[in-house]
Structures are given as C-alpha cells and as structure tokens.
C-alpha cells in the first residue's frame, strides 16, 4: 500500500480528517521551502503537495500564479524540486509528498525518467492539472511502474459517469475541486459542495479530499464534515509571498501558525 493510502487510511481509522497543504517549491525563495515543509508536518499536516512552478499555470488564481513567478525568478525547476524532496526525506520518512503541476515540465523531463527519479527522491504521487484521463495513459504506465500514485481532479462540472471513469484511473485519493474557477477564488459554497459530493456518491474506496477556496478554519471544518480531508493552498502561498524579505524561520513559523489553526478546527469536527 502506498504511503498516501496508509496515511489516509490511518487518519480515517482514527476518525481524523486529513489535512493536505499546498506550497510552491522555491517560493518566495528556495531556502524557505524545506523548513516550511517540516513546520507543516509539526503542525499536523498529513500530506504535503509541492507545487512545481510553471511559466503558464492556467488553473491558478493570481496568488499562486505569483508564487510560481517568484520561484521561477530563482530558476526553480522540476529537477530542483526532486532535490528538495530528497532533502526532506533525510529526516522525514512518513509524510507523503505529492507533486502538483503542469504537464510540460514532466513531458520535457521524460515520463519514464521522471517517474523513476521521483520515486527515488521519495515522492509518492503526482497531480498534473492539465492531464485528464484521456491523455494520461503513457505517463500513468510509467507512474505505475515506479509505484507512484496518480491523483486526479473532479470538478463541479464533472458528470457522475465521468467521475466513475476518472476514479477508475486514480489512486491515492480523489481531489474534488470545490468551485468553478481557479485556485484562491472567493466563492466557495459549502451547500453546493455537499450536493455535488452526494450526487457522486461512493465512487470508489479512495478517500476524497476537497480543495480550492478554503482559506480559514471555519470553512475547513465545514468542508471536512463532507469529505475525508481538505486541501489548503492559496492562503499559505499568499502569506509566504508577503514575507519574501524575511527569514525562512519566520516564514515557516507564520505558515505553521495558519496551518495549526486549521488543524485544531478539523480536530473538533
């Protein structure tokens, strides 16, 4: 069983909601990433999604776009992201790492070479925003061969029939995008999320995590009641971006504080 499945199953068996957090590797500067990752774990994060910066992040709102731009200004790449994972694994062997990004850097790296290098670096899964199941076959073969989970998005516009098909390709967990729009959008509607998740019903045995637009403990708690876990990103990236001129310790602490608040809210679900 993959590290992702183990962690999520364990959380479920304990009646705990999973907390998944997204930060951009190398944002606001490369040295800030590792200490922030460790701080996230310390504050009760179950899975870390590490954003791989891309020049054209089509599904991101302005906050995360700027995170990508800040990281790219430091020449952060897919290759250097794997280095960060390797460093992280030197002292943490239990927290799953998911790379989240866009197809082109992975394609440039080479699907098979990437899957091997990622598994070696201690990466557990990949979420490629712009690779729907119809286009993922070749990459998926490589991921499977290296034992990496392939995580897919489900959206408010996804039909039940399509959701079943996506679920049949997925492993690790299913990521439900809580709103029509980009990351960091401000129009999350808890009732609509509930209605759509009810409509999907039980698609597979895979846990479902919900993200996009979750910015505070109260919303996290409300959404967590509907799913196995929540994903929090923009609010962290916004904080990190605002601290570009501060030390990595201060950045890690500030992000840890936000995450700690969300963790506590989830724990009294």
């Amino acid at each position: 069983m993959s590290r992702i499945s183990q962690v999520l199953n364990h959380a479920k068996s304990q009646g705990r909601k999973a907390l998944v957090t997204y930060i951009v590797n190398g944002d606001p500067y490369p040295a800030a990433t590792l200490p922030t990752m460790h701080k996230l774990v310390e504050q009760g994060v179950d899975i870390i999604e590490l954003g791989v910066p891309f020049s054209d992040p089509m599904a991101e709102g302005p906050v995360i776009q700027q995170g990508h731009e800040r990281a790219l200004a430091h020449h952060v790449s897919l290759k250097s992201t794997l280095e960060v994972a390797r460093e992280f694994r030197k002292t943490n062997n239990h927290t799953p790492l998911v790379l989240m990004g866009y197809a082109n850097p992975v394609e440039r790296f080479g699907y098979e070479a990437f899957a091997k290098a990622a598994a070696e670096a201690g990466i557990d899964g990949l979420l490629t925003v712009d690779l729907p199941p119809e286009e993922v076959a070749v990459l998926k073969e490589a991921l499977d061969a290296s034992g990496l989970d392939n995580i897919f998005l489900l959206a408010p516009t996804t039909t039940v029939e399509r959701a079943r098909k996506i679920a049949s390709h997925a492993s690790g967990f299913l990521y439900y995008v809580s709103l029509k729009g980009v990351t960091g959008a401000g129009h999350l509607d808890v009732t609509a999320v509930k209605a759509k998740l009810d409509e999907f019903g039980q698609l597979t045995d895979l846990p479902v995590c919900v993200g996009f637009g979750i910015k505070d403990p109260a919303t996290a708690k409300a959404i967590a009641a509907l799913a196995d876990g929540v994903v929090v990103g923009s609010v962290l990236v916004e904080k990190m971006g605002s601290m570009a001129d501060q030390s990595q310790e201060k950045i890690a602490q500030a992000v840890g504080d936000i995450v700690g608040g969300i963790r506590r809210a989830l724990d009294d679900c």
Binding site: D56, M58, S77, R108, D130, P132
Partner: protein
Amino acid sequence: MAQTGEETVSENKQSSTIDYSAFPNAEGHFGPYGGRFVSETLIYALDELNAIYSRLKDDPDFQAEFDKDLAHYVGRPSPLYFAERWTRELGGAQIYLKREDLNHTGAHKVNNTIGQALLAKFTGKGRVIAETGAGQHGVATATVAARLGLKCRVYMGADDVKRQSLNVYRMKLLGAEVFPVTSGSRTLKDAMNEAMRDWATNVDDTFYIIGTVAGPHPYPQLVRDFQAVIGREARAQCLAQAGKLPDALVACVGGGSNAIGLFHPFLTDESVSMYGVEAGGLGIETGKHAAPLNKGVPGVLHGNRTYLMEDENGQIIETHSVSAGLDYPGVGPEHSWLKDIGRVKYVPINDDEALAAFRKVTRTEGIMPALESSHALAYVEKLAPTMSKDQIIIANLSGRGDKDILTVAGIDGITV
C-alpha cells in the same frame, strides 16, 4: 478480385495519399499532436462544444447561415488579386494575393468569429470572451458581440495593449471590455491563460471564442473549418482566373489560422507546395523570435500538444516579433503534424525582412499589408524569383496594415 495493372497503380497512389479530412480523430489528435490538455472543470464545456459543433457542421441550415453572414456582413468572397507590377519586378512566378485585408474589420479573423458566434448563439450563452495579440481577433470578436448583443471581454497582454492602441480603442468603441493581462510575459500567451481562467470560472454563461487553430479539441478543428473558406475560394478563383491550380501557397503562421485556412482545401493537390512563414524576429540564431516549428520542440501548452518554444526545464520562453499577431510560443497542432509529415515547409522571416516587404508592397501595389501578412510577402520576395514565369504563387494577405502604422512610424522615428 482481378485487377488490371492500371488499377493497382492508382490504388498504390491512393494508399500513399492521406485523407486529411479524417484529422483530427475523435480525441482531437493530429498524429501525436492536439488533444485536450485542460483542467477537469473545462472538460464539460469542451464536450458540450464538441457535441454542438458535431451536430451543426454538416447541417445545411447552419452552413447556409454562415455563408450568408460571410457574404453580406464580411463581404466575401474576397478577391484573388494578380499583383502584376510586383510580379514584373521580381521577374519570376506570377503572384496572386488573397485579399483577406478587404474583409469587414480588416483581417481573416472575422471568418472564425462569425462561425463561433453562431455556435455561441446555439449554446444560449450571453457572454463571450477572447484572447488577442495584435487586437485583430479582439476586434473581430467585439464586432460579432456587438451585432448579437452579447457581453464581451477581451484579454490582451499589457505590452500588446500598448503597441496596438488603435485596436484597443476600436474594441472599446464596439462595447467590449479590454482587460490588460500583466502576468508572465504580458503578451498573447498570457492573455490566453487568463481567458482560460475566466472560462473555468464562468463556464455556465460564457462562450470562449479562441482566435486561432490552437487550444484544446475541438477548437483547432472548428477554427480551421471556418477559415477554410479562404482556401476554397482561392482554389476556385485560381482555376477560373488562371485556368490552373497554383504551384505554391504562402501564408504567415502565428497560431496558424490564416495559413491552415488557405492550405487545407489544397492539401490533397500534390502539385501545390506550401510554405508557412514564422516570425524570425531578430534572427532565429539569436533566440529572439517566435518560430517554434523552426526552432522548437513538442510539448504541452494551452490545451494541446504541439511544437513550443521552451527552455531545458519545460518552461515556456518569451518570444519576439515586430508583429504582435505572430508573437506566440506555440502553434496550432495541425501545423506540427503537417511539418512532421513534410506536407508543408515552415520557414522563418525576420523583422527587418517583413518591414521591407511591408514598404515594398505598399509602394508597388498600393496595398498596405499587416505586419503579420508582411512576413508571408517577404517570403514571396525570396521564392518568386526562383520560380518560372508560368508558375503561380498565392500569398495570403491576411490583414490590412492600418493597425501597424504607429509601430512603423515608431521604427522610422516619427511621432504621428
């Protein structure tokens, strides 16, 4: 089955020819290119668009409405003009210009926006969005939106807003909102990112009118089909006026819509050579250009797999061209495929060569071409003298140059 020798020969020939109408396939692929590389939210909208287009594309009523608009609103057919003086000067092949500059709004772009606006009408969506580089597609979208009473927002790179200020004001006069995009390289590719984000957010009530043969399936197909009127007309006009098919076709390639529009109806005419002209910028050896088919590698951007300009880490790199409409790091997937199979040759033309052709054709023929089209014309300057006087070149004069007057004046050091 008994076969005569003659039948076997023709059968062999047939099996070596490609049925171009079978591309893209159902998944939107042209060989390894094209497809649908978008986030999940947009899949539903693409499925919906594909269903509507599949139903309407062979519907005689829809085609009749499209043809009627092209005739009475756009002013088609556009002339195929024999550029006699320029031909004499170059001393080689006879040069014919397909006059897309004479269309309403001044470029080929309107052929496509008329078609997509008809599709938008069938979806019942009350808002359209578009991305634009030179502003020609933005103007063409704002125009059809005004005519149909649709709300319209046009995304345009902040740098392009500056260099195409005339078109920006035209769009505003037409009632569209022009949204300057300040992310990334602040040009066409970033405008397209932003339009995709808007679409994902407002997918229920918004129709995205993509301006070229790029983007996720079915856009490369439907934009091509709408633009193919250029080649259908040119083919019939050439047969009527010159009594034979042309020997060569030349068109500029930004995303590739005017080029595929001219080329597609000729693809099975094996005697017709085709040249797609990319923006060589300051020279393709300098890295400052917009010529992915000459200097790029296959990758994934804006919903399709195609040749791209990118660095060794797969990041899309900034492009350069004197013409905003060619300043794009990707290209329509069908062109990538046509390059690989060798049916079309793709060549670069530099900024200074395009500017020289702009001046030359303006002075020689009294026709002021767009800087985009001037790239095609600059290649004609090279190609025509290598051909014989009984041969024919058709160049696509994709748009008129009025929008570029301030750019050219700036290069001349003149403030208008």
